[in-house]
C-alpha cells in the first residue's frame, strides 16, 4: 500500500486544515480541496482541471519541491487575478511523495 502525504490547506475563510492526500489515485491539489470540501462547489475547479479558469489558484507557503509551472499554467496565471510570485494552479500539481508537508492557501474567488 502506498503512503499518504500530509498537506496543510488554508481555505478562503483563513482556516487551516491538515489533510491526508493519497499518492496513488492520480489526484491533484484542486481535486484534494474538492474531496475534503474545503471550498464550496461552484467556486473551484470550474473547468474540471484543464488550467483554463484559475478558480483553483493557490499560494504556496513553504519550500517544497514542486514541478515547474507548465505552459498552460503559466498562460492561465498570466490572465488570472490576485496573482503573486508563489501562485500556482492546484489542478496542475499532482500529489506525489514529494509534496509531503506542503502548505498552501487558496487564493480569493474572482
Amino acid at each position: 500500500m502506498t503512503q499518504d502525504v500530509t498537506i496543510k490547506i488554508t481555505d478562503r475563510e483563513g482556516i487551516t486544515h491538515e489533510v491526508q492526500a493519497p499518492t496513488d489515485m492520480n489526484m491533484n491539489v484542486m481535486e484534494l480541496v474538492c474531496a475534503y470540501e474545503l471550498a464550496p462547489e461552484g467556486t473551484i475547479g470550474l473547468c474540471g482541471g484543464m488550467a483554463m479558469c484559475a478558480s483553483c489558484q493557490c499560494y504556496v507557503l513553504n519550500q517544497v519541491d514542486l514541478p515547474e509551472r507548465n505552459e498552460d499554467e503559466e498562460a492561465m496565471l498570466s490572465e488570472a487575478f490576485n496573482v503573486k510570485d508563489n501562485s500556482r494552479l492546484g489542478c496542475q500539481i499532482y500529489i506525489t511523495n514529494a509534496l509531503e508537508g506542503l502548505e498552501i492557501a487558496l487564493a480569493p474567488e474572482s
Binding site: E41, G42, M50, M52, E74, A75, S78, E79, F81
Partner: protein, 350 residues
C-alpha cells in the same frame, strides 16, 4: 412569443440530447443559451480536447461530440435562441411557464428543463478600482458593434484568442489600438499571433508586454488608463478599455427563480424524474444536485431521458405511452424524414 412543449435552458450536450429524447415522444423543444454557439463548455472551453468516457466512443473531440449531437437532433427541428440569457420565469394559470430573456424575448412552454451546466458564461472582470463606474463609459467586456470604435483610441488587455483577434480587427477601425498583456507570450492560434506581430511591425498595433492595467481615469467617461510596466506606472490616454480575460460561469438569474439551491446547484428528485421543487421545472446535467451526483456528460444524457418521460406525462396527461426502442420503431422526424432499420430479406431455400 415563441411557443414550444419544452423550453431547454442551456445548449450543452445534456440540453442537446434532451431534444432527441423529447422528439421520440413527439415533443417539440426550443433551446436558449447565453453563448453565441451551441455546445456549452465543450464549444467554449475545450472544443479540441478529447473525451474518453462517452459510451461507445473510445475517444471523441468535444467539438465533434457537439457536431454529432446537432446531427442526431436535426430531424426534430429544435428552435435555437443563442446569445441570450434566461432572466425571469412566470407560471401561468394554465400551468405553463413564460420565460423572458435578458433581451426581452418571451418563450412559453409547458415544461422548462434547465440544462445550464455551471451557469451562464459571463466576462471575468479585472480587479481595477472603480472599473464598475466606467462600465458603459468606456469599459467594455464584449464587442457587439465594432463600428462604435471607429476613429477612437482603444486599449485591449488579455493574452488569448479574443484579445488577439479583436486587436487585429480593430486595427482597421480604431484610430489607435494598444494591446497590453502581462507577459510576452500569447496563447492564441498561431496565425493570430503572427498577424498581430505583422501589424505591430507595421505600426498599426502598439504592444505593451509585460504590462498590466492598474488604474482608470476620467470624470464622466474614460479618458486614460494607468499601466504598470515592470513596477513603473505609465499613463496612456484612451477612449475605450476592453479587458478580454475570458468567461466564467455564474448561476445568474436562475438562482432567484425560487428553486431549491444547494452548493451552487439545483436540487432535484433523482429517484423519479429530476424535477425541481417547482412542478414543471426540471434540472438536468451539471446544474443539478442529488445524493451521489456525478457531473458527467453520460449522466446528463440519462437524466435528460428520464426528464422527457415525465415531461410527456405533464404535457399529455392520462395519455398512454410505452418507451420504444429506436431500432424497432425507427425515428420519425418532425421534418418528414424517417429513419428505420432495413427490413431483413427473407429468401426461401429451394
Amino acid at each position: 412569443m415563441i411557443k414550444t412543449d419544452i423550453l431547454i435552458i442551456g445548449a450543452g450536450p445534456t440540453g442537446l440530447f434532451a431534444v432527441f429524447e423529447a422528439g421520440l415522444l413527439k415533443l417539440k423543444c426550443h433551446i436558449l443559451d447565453s453563448l453565441p454557439q451551441p455546445g456549452g463548455q465543450l464549444s467554449e472551453l475545450y472544443p479540441k480536447k478529447p473525451i474518453y468516457d462517452i459510451p461507445g466512443f473510445p475517444e471523441v473531440l468535444a467539438g465533434d461530440l457537439v457536431n454529432n449531437l446537432m446531427e442526431q437532433i436535426k430531424q426534430f427541428e429544435p428552435g435555437f435562441t443563442l446569445g441570450e440569457r434566461a432572466e425571469t420565469i412566470e407560471k401561468q394559470e394554465d400551468g405553463s411557464f413564460i420565460v423572458t430573456s435578458n433581451k426581452g424575448k418571451k418563450f412559453q412552454a409547458s415544461v422548462v428543463a434547465i440544462a445550464g451546466g455551471l451557469g451562464s458564461f459571463e466576462p471575468r472582470k479585472p480587479l481595477i478600482e472603480d472599473i464598475e463606474f466606467y462600465e458603459n463609459k468606456g469599459v467594455k467586456y464584449f464587442i457587439k458593434n465594432p463600428e462604435k470604435f471607429r476613429n477612437k483610441r482603444v486599449v485591449i488587455a488579455g493574452g488569448g484568442d479574443s484579445a488577439l483577434d479583436w486587436s487585429v480587427f480593430l486595427s482597421n477601425v480604431a484610430s489607435e489600438v494598444t494591446l497590453i498583456h502581462r507577459r510576452n507570450e500569447f496563447r492564441g492560434a498561431l496565425d493570430s499571433v503572427e498577424k498581430v506581430q505583422e501589424l505591430k511591425n507595421a505600426g498599426k498595433i502598439k504592444m505593451i508586454t509585460p504590462g498590466e492595467v492598474v488604474g482608470l481615469n476620467g470624470a464622466e467617461h474614460l479618458e486614460s488608463i494607468d499601466v504598470d510596466i515592470n513596477g513603473a506606472h505609465r499613463n496612456i490616454p484612451t477612449d475605450y478599455f476592453i479587458p478580454l480575460f475570458g468567461l466564467t460561469p455564474k448561476l445568474g438569474p436562475i438562482a432567484n427563480w425560487g428553486l431549491e439551491i444547494e452548493r451552487n446547484a439545483i436540487k432535484v428528485n433523482n429517484a423519479l424524474d429530476y424535477q425541481t421543487n417547482i412542478p414543471g421545472i426540471f434540472a438536468i446535467g451539471d446544474v443539478n444536485t442529488y445524493p451521489g451526483k456525478l457531473k458527467l456528460i453520460l449522466c446528463g444524457f440519462h437524466e435528460a431521458t428520464l426528464m422527457c418521460q415525465a415531461a410527456y406525462q405533464i404535457i399529455n396527461p392520462g395519455k398512454k405511452y410505452l418507451m420504444k426502442y429506436t431500432t424497432v420503431s425507427g425515428i420519425d422526424g418532425f421534418d418528414g424524414t424517417r429513419k428505420e432499420a432495413p427490413k431483413a430479406v427473407v429468401k426461401a431455400i429451394d
